[in-house]
């Protein structure tokens, strides 16, 4: 039954893609949504089954077939079900199902409807393979597969060259990360002789520490590419070229969390190399701050949310870098809920306004889109970390860990949190409050979105509200159910990491500080954008240097273009002219012309004169006799 979970979306993909345009919209959506729904139900059943087992036996490995046996390398196609993979399974299939339902309404008028659902199902299949694999190779198959599906879905409206370029950029940056992951895998195999998780984690003590550091750094490079950390993050904002459900599913809830999954799965290796953990902490922190400063000034709804995703991923990596693996997972889960919610709401707004994405042309939509307004509000409050919504519990856990580790880290993380709440509320106020800045035609056609769009919004809003109660900390009289559930997975590493306990009073004080400061930021945003009705300026007008720097994303794209892309283009042109045309073509043509020239000489032997032929015969006889008699 375990193998049915990824198999159903795969079958859905095959059926829809092979039938092409013959299926009606209703049938396609039934197959696609149905397969993911059944996978979700099966995942929930598996969850209950696993919970009935005693704690130390909660790890089932199911082998489907023997895949690769080459010398010392033996890799099976097998799945591993343990608490970590189950959490991810339920989130992927659950949120995935909601987004499938949403897409039925959102993509209804698109002519590539069937293609979209086939790609979505394929993506769910690969993502499930990624989290369910019991060895590095199956994970890598899923890893590459989600990169491929991301490319296919970002460039879904392929007739636009810019979208294709964005898809290319995403895929290429992912590949750069994948190279690091692959080299890390090779090193693991060289050191331990196996690629199976169970084997590797039991042999960890036999690898020398510098190699472990190298391996973990390389694996993290893979996570950098997939989860959009510095320096491989620029593909995520450009990936907003794809349809909004794609942004919600791939770039908020699932694919970008693959890096988190991988680091958590390898927690033993990371616990053994503190240097890498510090590196992860620094990069996560830098990414979180960097992206938050860019998000402060962006004017496209989806771009703000994209930079917010990058920033929140940085926060998750901060959690991992502190050694608080279950906190990272908790924040990943709550982030999946409210970020998907925010993206889907943004999609609803865009759909209602007929394609408008610039918030300077929105405003006053509160009375036209009531459900969207309410759910967007819940999402924004959740991400800002106001109790009792989901974001509060997960962020607070990370902040507490950061304070216990190092007050400077806490300070920077706090600043990032405050910036998050500020720009999210800025987005919220500019979209739904104030004067109606949209054009008259757009306002004329405006309407609330259909049920297939609003129902997933409502469900996700409910999840964002109650999701935090998964892991209420002890000081608030909770039971920390998620951390307890995940503890067998992180048991080996928690022995190796140093605990940094903080007193209860400190925790209360931190919580109170965060809440107060967040409310202050919301108040500032309110006064700026609602009371004073400040509207962000148009692109060409002059602004302060800092604003320009932030608005143009610190010119990182331009720097990359000049430093990396252009020299590569120059190099490949040179290669084309010299190596391809002169050397390789020259050799091939030389072979052909050599044959022609030789045959021109040889054909003169056939001159048709009988005397010449007799002459040659005699010479042949002489030669044969000579050779016979010499022997």
């Amino acid at each position: 039954m375990i193998s049915l979970v990824p198999l159903l979306p795969l079958i859905g993909f095959l059926i829809i893609s092979l039938s092409g345009k013959k299926l009606s919209h209703g049938l396609t959506s039934a197959i696609a949504c149905g397969s993911v729904l059944i996978s979700f139900i099966l995942a929930v059943i598996l969850f209950f089954q696993l919970s009935s087992l005693p704690v130390d036996q909660r790890s089932i490995e199911v082998t489907l077939l023997q895949w690769i046996t080459a010398g010392d390398l033996s890799v099976n196609f097998s799945f591993l079900i343990d608490p970590l993979s189950l959490i991810f399974l339920m989130i992927i299939t659950g949120v995935g199902f909601l987004i499938h339902v949403y897409s039925v309404g959102y993509m209804n008028d698109d002519e590539g409807f069937n293609k979209f659902f086939s790609y979505l199902n394929l993506f769910i299949f690969f993502m499930l393979m990624l989290v369910m694999g019991s060895n590095y190779v199956v994970m890598f198959v899923g890893w590459e597969g989600v990169g491929l599906c991301s490319y296919l879905l970002i460039g879904f409206w392929f007739k636009n060259t810019e979208y294709n370029n964005a898809a290319n950029k995403a895929f290429i940056m992912n590949r750069i990360g994948d190279l690091g992951l692959l080299i890390g895998m090779i090193l693991i195999f060289m050191q331990t002789g196996s690629l199976n998780y169970a084997d590797v984690f039991s042999k960890v003590s036999s690898i020398d520490p510098s190699t472990i550091t190298l391996i973990t750094i390389l694996l993290f490079v893979g996570a950098m590419g997939k989860s959009a950390q510095i320096p491989l993050y620029t593909w995520l904002p450009d990936a907003m070229a794809g349809p909004t459900p794609v942004s919600a599913l791939i770039h908020a809830a699932t694919m970008v969390t693959a890096g988190i999954y991988m680091v958590c799965r390898n927690n033993v290796l990371y616990a053994l190399s503190p240097a890498t953990l510090d590196l992860i902490l620094i990069i996560g922190l830098a990414t979180a701050l960097f992206a938050a400063t860019i998000a402060l000034t962006q004017n496209d709804i989806k771009k703000v949310l994209a930079y917010s995703t990058v920033s929140q991923l940085g926060l998750m990596f901060v959690a991992l870098g502190l050694g608080a693996f279950s906190s990272g997972i908790f924040h990943m889960a709550t982030h999946a809920f409210f970020k998907a919610l925010l993206f889907l709401c943004a999609g609803s707004v865009i759909h209602a306004l007929g394609g408008e994405q610039d918030i300077r042309k929105m405003g006053g939509l509160k009375k036209y889109l009531p459900i969207t307004y309410l759910t967007f509000f819940i999402g924004v409050v959740a991400i800002s970390g106001i109790p009792p919504f989901a974001g509060f519990f997960s962020k607070d856990e990370i902040l507490a860990e950061a304070f216990a580790h190092n007050p400077i880290v806490y300070g920077l993380t706090l600043i990032m949190s405050l910036m998050t709440s500020f720009y999210m509320f800025r987005l919220f106020f500019l979209t739904f409050y104030g004067k109606e800045r949209a054009s008259h035609d757009v306002m004329h056609h405006i309407h609330e979105s259909p049920k297939s769009i609003t129902i997933p919004l409502i469900v996700l809003a409910v999840l964002s509200t109650i999701g935090g109660f998964m892991n209420v900390p002890e000081i608030l009289f909770g039971s920390e159910s998620l951390s307890t559930y995940l503890s067998p997975v992180f048991a080996q590493s928690s022995e190796l990491l140093t605990e940094h306990p903080i007193t209860h009073t400190t925790e209360y004080a931190l919580m109170g500080l965060v809440i107060v400061l967040t409310l202050v930021m919301i108040g500032i945003a309110y006064s700026m954008y609602v009371k004073k009705d400040e509207v962000p300026v148009a692109d060409q007008s002059s602004t302060s240097a800092l604003h320009k720097l932030s608005y143009n994303k610190y010119y990182v794209d331009e720097i990359y273009n000049a430093v990396i892309v252009k020299p590569l283009y120059w190099l490949s042109t040179k290669f084309d002219l010299i190596v391809e045309r002169k050397a390789i073509d020259g050799v091939v043509n030389l072979t052909g012309s050599a044959v022609i020239d030789w045959s021109k000489v040889l054909r003169l032997v056939q001159n048709g004169s009988t005397g010449f032929y007799i002459f040659i015969m005699v010479i042949g006889i002489v030669l044969m006799l000579t050779i016979t008699f010499i022997h």
């Binding site: 002459f615 005699v618 002489v622």
Partner: protein, 107 residues
Amino acid sequence: MVLFLYVIMLLNLNTEDEPHKSNLLKFAATICSGLLLVVFVGSLKGTEMIVQNTTGTGTIGLVKNLGKVLFTDFLLPFEIASVLLLAAMVGAVMLGKSEKTLISKKP
């Protein structure tokens, strides 16, 4: 040799000069034949040593003895040689017909 004489008679040649080959070919031909002769000389150097087998009777050249060997040990090549002669005869007759008779023979 009689065949040759018949053919020369049929060809009705005139006393024109027989065309000569170029000098280069003649020179090359001489060299070739010389080489051949050298090879023969080299191979025949040790043949004085061959001892005659004198134990036989003088009957080796008689046709009766030849016939005996021919029809017992070499029967198969004999029959095949006769078929060969038949084939050669048919081929020669076919080739020897004039074109007009060949064309009129066609239905």
